[in-house]
Every structure is written in structure tokens, then in C-alpha cells.
Symmetry: C2
Subunit: 762 residues, 2 copies
């Protein structure tokens, strides 16, 4: 029996304290942000509207999701497992979900207060540096909170459950991932429905600028930035932290025993220092490109993080696996644990650096691919769309390629031991995440400065120079947002690869238990070999789930944006005074429509993600389910990066034209890039980022149900009936949700057709 | 030792004669087509230009590809294998490639003569039925030739090589698939570069109609339809036939022995009758929707095909597997071979029917999804693009889902025997292909009537009614083209799934040989388990190859279309008389640019497809290579259907608006759908259809190299060096091609920038 010594308890307790300290740092940074001046009354009034809309949306979203969480909480009790662990896992699920929600709420809460302060700062003499500092510190609060809550949660679970912690942590990670997925989807639909709707009527039809106060959708657009890009992103990163840590701890216990439950926490604690360092050293100098500042901050913190992790490995770990109490079969592992562990962390850090570089190259305003997309605007919108898709595909391939190379590198390190390689993959994920602090902080630039620009424009109280400052900050945000998504999806691949090991372990443990009872099993259901037709069917279905999920998310945005367009058009038509500034548009109605539609639409992709693996697992078996996960990971990483980067490239291609290239604002080239940008909106901010939590949710669901699937794979009549029944119910729920969504779409189509019928053609 | 009796020889000889008879039927149909009147001298002059351009392109393409074929021919000799088989395989490779090229050339040759006859027919009193008949018979020639050459080639190989036929047939299938892939890519780039280029300048900038003779790109556009949609499609379908047959024969030998080498040929011979029946019964009645006629023709021939195949099974096969001489381990297979074989064929036929229905539903002009895409044109081009992408994703998921369901169904039939299930999957593929005759025939509607419309428009000698007839035929073609692609990709999945079995067999045979020599092997390289990190890396890389291939094809079109746009603009600028009909545009220059660019661009995706599996196989091992193929199949089927169906939906959404919906021609809604259609062009006619041969090429390459990979996986220094060396060279070639393509893209960007610099802004 594995023991958990007092020195381990001390270290984990210290790590919990470090987690608390990170939260204190976050509180201190928050105070700094709130201390900045709040701007003119005009600005404050607008900010007030955004604050109310964002709070109202998140509160309603949480009420909806609470119901869902309670159902899952109950379902978790139905799964087989030891009593105490089962209770712990279900509670940990709620805690993980709660932390995820809290981080999201915090991100939103602060962002809606930071935006007006950044707008105010931009008008002051040293506006560029000041504005950047406030926006950046806002991100710092999110980053430190992510790290703090992640560390605290994991450390507490390890303290309470000791060697049973991995099973309980599955619940923690699952809760975090599930909540984050819903927040990504719901927030993503909200923000892009409002954004696309506002642009289509405002910019394209009426020819009024973005964020013009006459556009009834502007407040909703700004609310969206906060509930999607801030709240959703924060929850997503927390989930990445939590799940990667969980994977590392599960495998750490198997490979290193007691020390394996502590070392991943140490690496993550190093990440807390690195995040703080990153927040403190990253600042825009004078008029330099914001991306240069990020790169500097990133490389400094990455090098420090890698060094500290290596030091920790050499101080904490012994020089031979023989001195460790892991139970996994390592073969003739002659490797030095200190060396392989630190090299794995370094591979993770280097991977983060390469993804940063690739994403910056493909989406930055000064790099060739984006310039190429901008140049294709000379031949119209179609070529802009096509070239952006080309850029997205290509960058996705390179990103997937370097992630694959990192896994191969880790595999070589492990010298042929499967279990060691899986653990090292998880450690590489932890290494990757040590750098996330600085990236989150810069990521937050985007939505906060976008909002600040909106408030500035609507209040009409900001001069051109200040507006230019805010535009520049926003352009940097486009690239950092793409980088964050690249990093997030890399963690998804690494965590999923590692969790595959836990999955195989769970299956073989369950097989052993069934074999003890002397029962035979359906062999095809258990084959993990990819050459088996049903395993290959699993791969196809996994890839299909990613496509369906993406399509549903994009469709939801198109549909909701259509509703916004009709509402804004209606307001312009029925209140002609709006155009002449004599009437004030009803901003609230648009916010309400966005809220209603995104809450309605988030259920379908969410149910699909949760129930598809259940249907495949119980219907086809654990082998095909492994194929399903493989297909979802393979297609998912490419789809996620494709969607994020093509969206980023289109957004910045538009900025290049707006800065005067190919005819500048108002030219046909500009109109073409606006269309490209609009296509990219749901790509990069709705469907793309949601794939990261999607993969993790499906992995964790599979891990949780694996023992039950094996138990019901005994070809006795009663078991088979249960198994097929569960599969049918799950497939029915997933498919039923899709059908419901189709029916709703058909109704929306009809309603909008009716509405147009009564309207003179434009 | 397996024998090949005289009765088998007789049957196969009869099948070869049936193949010849199919070719005779094709010749008779061809004579009918050519007997139709050729139209006015004006029409003939235009048709002449198209004929010359198409012949010139294909001749140059074949010269380029001949070089490539010779290199591959030589490389095939380097692979391990028995001497006689190796020679036969290499020769069969050349024959397969030659047949593929011949079918493509024939398709083009006839289409460029049928187009003017259809245009002439449309002006006659009974124009609709007459035009449809000629276009349809043209397709009949292609369909019968595909079936005839496929049967003849496979039967001859079986007659000559008897029980060694499977190994030789690998070469036949590989040759067919490789040539078809290049023709799909090259022809696809040609046709869409010309089409997109013509539309961007003509329709969008100058506001002149499609196919207006003042547009210098019109002849190239019409040439493109023939070298892409006709020649490429014909080669592609021949390749689908050949590879599916090859897979069935390889597995048939293993599972059923002698009879297994004959039965798949019998099923395919049934397909020849069904194709002829389909061509004869399918005709458009009065003013009915063309799709209704296809559905009727399809269902009649499908039912007949399934019945005949079942009869053949019951006549030819024994009632127990014990009476068959297969060598594969079938477990306690108590199934009746007659029953399972005929049910597998029926599953294939039903699968074809469901794909027909799904594709028709998602891309037809009267069905909800396409109407929805058309409706989104009211909110502009961006929503059209987004809704089309949503439709594409969704339809891809359903198509992949039914293919997966068919595989599961076949798997259940096999009662748990892996080998039997693989053979039955291949038989289902043969069943699917019995229906292809009628679909090819209707598919050809599209390009031929598109061309006829072009000739009619350019000659100015066709009235409005005749133009409407041609437009209607073209709309049907959009849907049938999408259906053909769906069927083709389904054969790819079934063939690839079946070939997976041959792959595993080749690996285990090679492993046995290595084990006899007493050498150890690198275990990680051999793990087919998807939970192994390197196998998962294979899955990611396989999916990545599909994305990269698609991106390269789309980029190539964007780039080549850009060159066309600049050329056409230059002609309008330097020859103002063109616009007033006083000067004749230089059509030939645009044809030359298309020819040059597509031949230059086809190398990159082609090299990637051929060398990526070599790099993965030798670099990572046979297990990861299996993962690679799985990832490519999973991502490939979804990507192929997504690209084909979103393109089809956009094209028909445009037709809906042109028919008067949402403002009709010239409205903003119309402009929005034109943009959607242009985005869809390279999707549906370049990247999408090329994925089908891509998957097969990668599968066959893997199958061919598997023994060599195993031989070099012995961890002795010399072997390792060879293995890694080969992997690096292959990766270098694949990656080098991509880099070259990037550099060319950068140069094109610069040139076009220079050209714009000297031009006044439009």
C-alpha cells in the first residue's frame, strides 16, 4: 500500500499556501486596477450599461448551468467505485465547476470595470503606457487567480485524500472542464451574435462606424466581449490548468508513487512565481509593437520557469526510479528521473514558445500570411475568405506538427516505457502551463481595449490619438487571443494523450475484476487496435463530433446574429430619429435577445459533448471509445487551431486595410476584409476556443464511464440489455438535442421570412 | 498451396469478356452522341477553342505525369518481394495509371464534343429532353468505360497471376489512384482558377454576365470544366472502382480462397449490367425536376443490382465456410457465406441510396438547407459563407455517420471475425459501386451543360428558353456532382478500412520473416494500439495531412485565380475596344496561364500525399503509420464531404436567388451568393474531390512499404540508419515541396503588388 509521508504533507501544505498567496497577489493587482480614474460621467454611464448586461447574462447562465451540474452530480453517484472516493469525486466535481464559474465571473467583473478606466487612461498624456498597464494588470488578476485556485484546489484534494486523490481529482477536472465548455459556448455565441449583428447592420448596411451609439447592438457587443472573451477565456484556462494537473497527478502516482503526487504540484507552483514575474516584467516600452513586449515577457518567464522546474526536479527527486514507489511497469528504465522530468518540462516550455512564434507569424499584423490575406482583398471578399482559410489550414498543420513532435520527443526520453512516456507527456503539459500567466495577462488586452474603444467611441469624448492607442492595443489582442487558443489546445492534446493512459489503466483494472468473476467478454468491444473496423469507426465518429460541434456553434451564431440584424433594422425603421441622434436606441432589447438566444443555443453542443462518448462507449465498447477519443483529438487540434488562426488573420487583415493599405477605410478592399472578419468572428471566438474544453470533457467522461462499460460488456443477456439501453438513451439525448436545434432553426427561418415579407426591400 | 481451377478460369475469362462488352456499349453510346447535329458555325468556332485548350492541357499534364510515373515505377522495384510479382506489380502500376489517364482523356474528349451538341439541341423544339439525352449519354460512355476497363484490367491480372494476383493488383490500384489524384488536383486547379478569375472580373467588377465573350477568361473557364469535372472525375471514379476491387480481391483470397478471387469480380460484372440499365432507364420526363429522374433511375438500378448480386452469391458460393479454401482465421464462423456476402452487398447498395438522399437534401435547390443558405443572403455575404459552412459540416457528419453505421452493420454480420468483417466491408464497397454507372452518367450533366450554356451565351445564338433549359440542367449537375463525391468518398472509406486488414496482414507476415532470422524489433514502432502516444501522434499527423492537402489545393486556386484576374483586367485596360465588342480578347493567353499554373501547383499536394506516409512509416513505425491512416480516413471523409456539400449548397443557393428569390439577379442578395459560390468553387471542385484519391494513395503506399518498414525496424545500427535516412529524405521531399510552394506564393504576391502599383485604383 502506498503511503503518504509527513514531508509530502508539509510540501503540499506549502503549495496550498502558495496558491493562497497567488490569490492575494491577484487581489492586490485588482485593487491597483480599480484605483485608476473612472473617466467622464458619459463614459461611466455607458460602462454601467455594459456592467448590468454582463452581470445579468452570467447570472442567468449560472442558474441554467446549476441545474445541469446537479444532474451530473447525481449521475456521478451511479458510476461504479469505492464509496468514499465516489462521494469525494462528486463533491470535487461541484468544487471544480464552482471554481471555473467563479474565475469566469471574476474575469468579467473586473473587465467591465477596467474597460472604462482604460478608455479614460488613453485620453491622458501618457495614454499608451497607462492604458496598456491597466489592461495588462486586469489580465494579471485573471492569470494569478487561475493559478491560485488551480493550485489550491488540487493541493487540498491531495491533502485530504492522499493516495486516493487521483480518482477524486477526476471529478475536479471534469467539473472545471464541463463548466468552461458551457461558458465558452454560451459566451461565444453571445459575443459573436452581437458583434456580427452590429457589424452587418451598422458597418455594412448603414455605413456608420463600429461602436456608433446609434447602433442598438453596440452595448450588447461590448457585453459580449466580457462574457465571451473574458469570462469564457478565464474559465477555459482554469480548466486547462486543472485537467493537466489532474492527468499529471494520476500518472505521477502510477509512475513515481508518493513523489509523483507531489512533483506536478511543485512544477505548477513554480508556474505561480513565473506568472507573477511575467506580469511584473511585461510592459510596452514607448511606441514599440505590443507583440514585441509580449515576446520579451514570455521568453524571460519561460526561461526562468524552465530553470526553476529543473532545480526543483534535482532537489526533490531521487536519481533512480528504483528509489521511487511507483507501481507501473517501467521496463528496464535506467533513466535518471531528475533528468527526464526536467527535460519533459523544458519540452513543454519550448513547445509553448514555438506555438507563440507560429501563431504570431500567421496572425500578426506585420507578418507575411496576414499581409497576403489583406492583399487578396484587391480581388474581393471571396479571395479574402479563401486565403484566410488557407492560412488557417496551414498554421493548424504546423501547430499540430510541433505538438506531435513534442510528444515524440517525450516518448524518446522515456526510452520505450509506455507509462513513463505518458507521465512525461503530462509533465510537459505542466511545463507548457508555467508560461500561461504572462499570456493570459496579454490576452486580456483584447477584450478590455476593444471595450474601452467602444466606450470611447460611444461617449464621443475621446480624441483621435487616444482612439489610435486603443486600436493598436486591440490589434495586439487579436494575436495574443490566437496564441492563447493555441496554447490551450496544446494543453488539451497533452492532457488528453496522458489521460489516455489513465483510460487504458481503468479499462485493464476493470477487466481484471470481471475476469476474477470468471465472465467472458465481447472481444471486439475491447480491441484498442486501430486496424479493427469498429475502432476505426470510433475514429470517424470522434472526428465527426468535432465537426458537428463546430458546425452547431457557428450555426447558432449565424442564427442569433440574424435575429439581432432584424431587431436593429426594426429600430432604425420604426424610430427614424435614431439616425439623427434625436432618439436613443433600445440597447436593452438587443442584450435580452442575445441572452435568450445564447442560453437556448448552448445546450445542444453541450449535450452532444457529454453524451456522444457515452453512446459510443456503451454502444460499441471501450476499444472504439478509445478510437473515438483519438479521432476527436486528431481532428480537434487541427480544427481548433484552424478556426482560431484564420479568424485572427482575417481580423488583422482588416486592421491592415483600415490602416491605409489597398485603399484604406471605405474602399472596396475594406468591405472585402470586413466580410472576412465577420466570417472569422464565430470561428475564432465561438467554435474554435470551445474545442479545447470539448476534448477534455469527452476524455474525462470516457475515463469515468470506462469501468461501467467493461462491467456491462459481459455477454450475459441482462448486461447487454442495460448496455444497449444506456447507449440508445445517450444517443437519443445527443441526437435529440441536434434535432431540436434544427427545428428551432427552421422556425427562425420562417419567422424571419415573415418579417421580411412586411418590409420594403432595401 | 491455393489452386486456381479451370471453372474459375472460365468464369474470370467470361468476366473479361463482359468488360470488353461494356467497352463496346460505351463505343456505341459515343457514336450516338457524336451523331447529333453540331450547331451553328459560331458555336462550332467556340467549341473548337475549348477543344484545343483542353487537349493541349491534358497532353502537357500527361507528359509531366509520365516522368513521375517512371520514377515511381523504378521505386517499386526497390521494395522487397518475390521477383515475378515485383515485375508484375510494377507493370500493373503502369497499366493502372495508363487506364486512369485514358479514361480521363476519353471523358474530356467526348465532353468537348458533346457540349456544342447539347447547346444546339437546346435550341430545337424538344430541346429539354434532347439536350438532357445527349448530356446523359455522354455520361453513359464514361460510366461504361469506367466499368469496362476496371473489369478488364482486374480480370486479366487474375487470369495471368492467379493466386498471386492480389500483390500484383496493389500495383494496378496504386497506379490508378496516383494518376487520378494528380488529375483531380491539376484539373481542379485549372477549372477553378479560370472560373473564379472569370467571375471576379466579369461578374463582380465589370458587371457583365457569366460567359460573356468580352471576358478573356471564358474559354479557359469552359476548358476547365472539361479537364477538371470531366477528365478528373472520370479518372477518380475509375480509381474508386479499381481500388475497391483490389481490396476485395486481396481479402477475398484470404477469407474464401479461390472463390474469393472470383466473387468480387462477379459482383462488379453485375455492376456493368446495372450501369447499362441505369443509362437506359434514366430519362427526364417532360418538365420534371432532373433530380427526380435520377432518383428513379438510381432506385431501379440499385434494386436490380442488389437482387442480381444476391442471386450470384447463392448460385456461386457454397453454404458453409468449411467448403471454402480461405487461409484467414475465421473463428467459429457458422455463418452462411451466401447470406453474409449478399447482405454485405445490399448494405453497400443501401449506403449509396442513403448518401444520395442526404446529399440531395443538403444541396438540392428545393430543400431546406440550401434555401436557408439562400435566405441568409439577406444579411450579406458573411452570413452566406457561414451558413454554407454550417450546412457542409452538418451534412459531412451525417454522411460519415451512415458510413460508420454501414461498417458496424457489416461487422455485426461477420459475427466477430475480424478477417471476415474486413472482406465484407470490401464487398459492401463493391455493392456501393454497382450503382455508380447511373450516377456518373447524371454527374456529367453538370460540366457538359455548363459548357453548352457557355457556348450558347458566347455565340449569342440561343434564345432565353434554351438558356433556361441549360441552366436547369446545370443545377441538377450541381447536386449530382455532390452526390458523386459522396459516393466516391464512401468507397474511399470502405476500401481503406478493408485495406487496413491487408496492411495488418503484410505487417504480421513481415514480422514472421524477421522473427525467423531471430532479430528483435523496436516495440513502440509496432504498436497498433491507439492509446500509445506515438500511434496517437500518427492519428494527428494523418488528420494534419488532410488539412494541409486541402489548404494547398485551395491556396493554389486562389493564387492562380489572382493571376487570371490581373491578366483579364490588363486586357480590358490595354484594349478598351474589348468592352465595345470592337476587339477580340486574347483567350489563349488565359488558357496558357491556367495550364502553366495548374501544372506547377499540382506537384506540391501530390508529393505530400505520396511521401508523407513514407516519412511517418519509416520514421515512427508501422503502428503509428496505421494511426496515420486512421487519422487521414477520419478527418478525410469529413473534410471531403464538408467541402463538396458546402460548395454544392452555395452554388445552388446562388441559383435560387438568380431564379428570383430575395431580389433576384443584380440584387445585393445575389452579390452575396456569388461570393459564397466563389468560395465554394475550390472547395467542391478542387480540394474536396481530391481527398478521395488522396486517402487511397496513402493507403496503398503504406501497404507497399509495410514489409520494408518492418525489415528496417530491427534495432541494428545499419538498419536504423537506413530507416531514419529514408524517413528524413521522404519528409524532406514532402516538406520541401510545401516550402517551394510558399516561396512561389510570396513571389506571386510581390509580382501582383508591383502590377497594382502601376495601375490606377479601381
Amino acid at each position: 500500500m502506498l503511503t503518504f509521508g509527513s514531508s509530502s504533507i508539509t510540501i503540499v501544505a506549502v503549495i496550498a499556501v502558495i496558491g493562497l498567496a497567488a490569490l492575494v497577489c491577484a487581489a492586490a493587482l485588482r485593487r491597483q486596477v480599480l484605483a485608476a480614474p473612472e473617466g467622464t460621467p458619459g463614459m461611466q454611464e455607458i460602462a454601467q450599461g455594459v456592467q448590468e448586461g454582463a452581470s445579468a447574462y452570467l447570472s442567468r447562465q449560472f442558474r441554467t448551468l446549476a441545474l445541469f451540474a446537479v444532474v451530473v452530480f447525481a449521475l456521478l453517484f451511479l458510476l461504479p467505485g469505492d464509496g468514499g472516493v465516489r462521494v469525494g469525486r462528486s463533491i470535487a466535481f461541484l468544487v471544480g465547476a464552482g471554481f471555473s464559474a467563479a474565475i469566469g465571473y471574476l474575469g468579467m467583473w473586473l473587465a467591465v470595470r477596467a474597460n472604462v478606466r482604460v478608455a479614460a487612461a488613453a485620453t491622458r498624456p501618457d495614454g499608451r503606457a497607462d492604458g496598456a498597464r491597466i489592461a495588462f494588470r486586469t489580465g494579471g488578476v485573471v492569470g494569478m487567480s487561475v493559478v491560485g485556485l488551480g493550485l489550491l484546489g488540487a493541493a487540498l484534494v491531495v491533502l485530504v485524500y492522499r493516495t486516493d486523490a487521483p480518482a477524486v481529482l477526476e471529478g475536479f477536472g471534469f467539473g472545471a472542464a464541463l463548466l468552461a465548455m458551457f461558458m465558452r459556448v454560451g459566451g461565444g455565441i453571445f459575443t459573436k451574435a452581437a458583434d456580427v449583428g452590429a457589424d452587418l447592420v451598422g458597418k455594412v448596411e448603414q455605413g456608420i462606424p463600429e461602436d456608433d451609439p446609434r447602433n442598438a447592438a453596440t452595448i450588447a457587443d461590448n457585453v459580449g466581449d466580457n462574457v465571451g472573451d473574458c469570462a469564457g477565456m478565464a474559465a477555459d484556462l482554469f480548466e486547462s490548468y486543472a485537467v493537466t494537473l489532474v492527468a499529471a497527478l494520476i500518472l505521477g502516482k502510477a509512475v513515481m508513487g508518493e513523489q509523483g503526487l507531489v512533483f506536478p504540484l511543485i512544477v505548477t507552483a513554480v508556474g505561480a512565481f513565473v506568472a507573477l514575474l511575467g506580469v511584473l516584467v511585461t510592459r510596452v516600452r514607448g511606441s514599440e509593437n505590443g507583440l514585441a513586449a509580449i515576446n520579451r515577457g514570455f521568453y524571460i518567464s519561460a526561461v526562468v520557469g524552465a530553470l526553476l522546474a529543473a532545480v526543483a526536479a534535482f532537489v526533490y527527486l531521487p536519481s533512480s526510479f528504483a528509489e521511487l514507489s511507483g507501481t507501473a511497469e517501467l521496463g528496464d528504465a535506467t533513466a535518471d528521473p531528475r533528468v527526464v522530468a526536467s527535460l519533459a518540462v523544458v519540452i513543454g516550455v519550448v513547445l509553448a514558445g514555438i506555438i507563440l512564434w507560429i501563431t504570431g507569424y500567421f496572425t500578426g499584423t506585420t507578418s507575411k500570411p496576414t499581409l497576403h490575406v489583406a492583399a487578396t482583398s484587391r480581388t474581393g471578399a471571396a479571395t479574402v475568405v479563401l486565403s484566410g482559410i488557407g492560412v488557417g489550414f496551414e498554421s493548424a498543420v504546423y501547430t499540430a506538427g510541433v505538438i506531435a513532435a513534442a510528444i515524440c520527443g517525450v516518448f524518446l526520453l522515456a526510452g520505450g516505457s509506455l507509462w513513463l512516456s505518458l507521465f512525461l507527456v503530462a509533465l510537459a503539459g505542466c511545463g507548457l502551463l508555467t508560461t500561461v500567466g504572462v499570456i493570459v495577462a496579454m490576452d486580456t488586452f483584447g477584450p478590455v481595449s476593444d471595450n474601452a474603444q467602444g466606450i470611447a467611441e460611444m461617449s464621443g469624448e475621446v480624441d483621435e490619438e487616444a482612439a489610435q492607442i486603443l486600436t493598436d492595443l486591440d490589434a495586439v489582442g487579436n494575436t495574443t487571443k490566437a496564441i492563447t487558443k493555441g496554447i490551450a489546445i496544446a494543453t488539451a492534446v497533452l492532457a488528453a494523450t496522458a489521460l489516455f493512459g489513465s483510460y487504458a489503466d481503468a479499462v485493464s483494472t476493470a477487466l481484471g475484476e470481471v475476469a476474477e468473476r470468471g465472465a467472458g467478454l465481447v472481444p471486439a468491444m475491447l480491441s484498442f487496435e486501430i486496424v479493427s473496423p469498429v475502432t476505426l469507426v470510433g475514429v470517424i465518429l470522434g472526428a465527426a463530433t468535432v465537426f458537428l460541434f463546430s458546425g452547431l456553434a457557428i450555426d447558432a451564431v449565424t442564427r442569433a446574429a440574424g435575429a439581432i440584424v432584424f431587431e436593429v433594422r426594426r429600430q432604425f425603421r420604426e424610430h427614424p430619429g435614431i439616425m439623427t441622434y434625436e432618439e436613443r436606441p433600445e440597447y436593452g432589447r438587443v442584450v435580452d435577445i442575445c441572452t435568450r438566444d445564447s442560453l437556448r443555443e448552448l445546450a445542444t453542443p453541450g449535450l452532444l459533448a457529454a453524451f456522444a462518448p457515452i453512446a459510443v462507449g456503451f454502444g460499441l465498447g471501450v476499444g472504439p471509445l478509445a478510437g473515438f477519443l483519438g479521432g476527436a483529438i486528431g481532428a480537434g487540434v487541427l480544427m481548433a487551431v484552424f478556426l482560431a488562426n484564420s479568424g485572427g488573420a482575417w481580423d488583422n487583415a482588416k486592421k491592415i486595410v483600415e490602416d491605409g493599405a489597398f485603399g484604406g477605410k471605405g474602399s472596396e478592399a475594406h468591405a472585402a476584409t470586413v466580410i472576412g472578419d465577420t466570417v472569422g468572428d464565430p470561428f475564432k471566438d465561438t467554435a474554435g476556443p470551445a474545442i479545447n474544453p470539448l476534448i477534455k470533457v469527452m476524455n474525462l467522461v470516457s475515463l469515468l464511464i470506462a469501468p461501467a462499460v467493461v462491467m456491462l460488456s459481459v455477454p450475459a443477456d441482462a448486461n447487454q440489455a442495460w448496455r444497449i439501453g444506456i447507449a440508445l438513451v445517450a444517443a437519443g439525448i445527443a441526437f435529440g438535442a441536434v434535432i431540436m436545434s434544427r427545428l428551432r432553426a427552421a422556425r427562425v427561418d420562417r419567422e424571419q421570412a415573415d418579417e421580411t415579407a412586411g418590409v420594403p426591400a432595401r
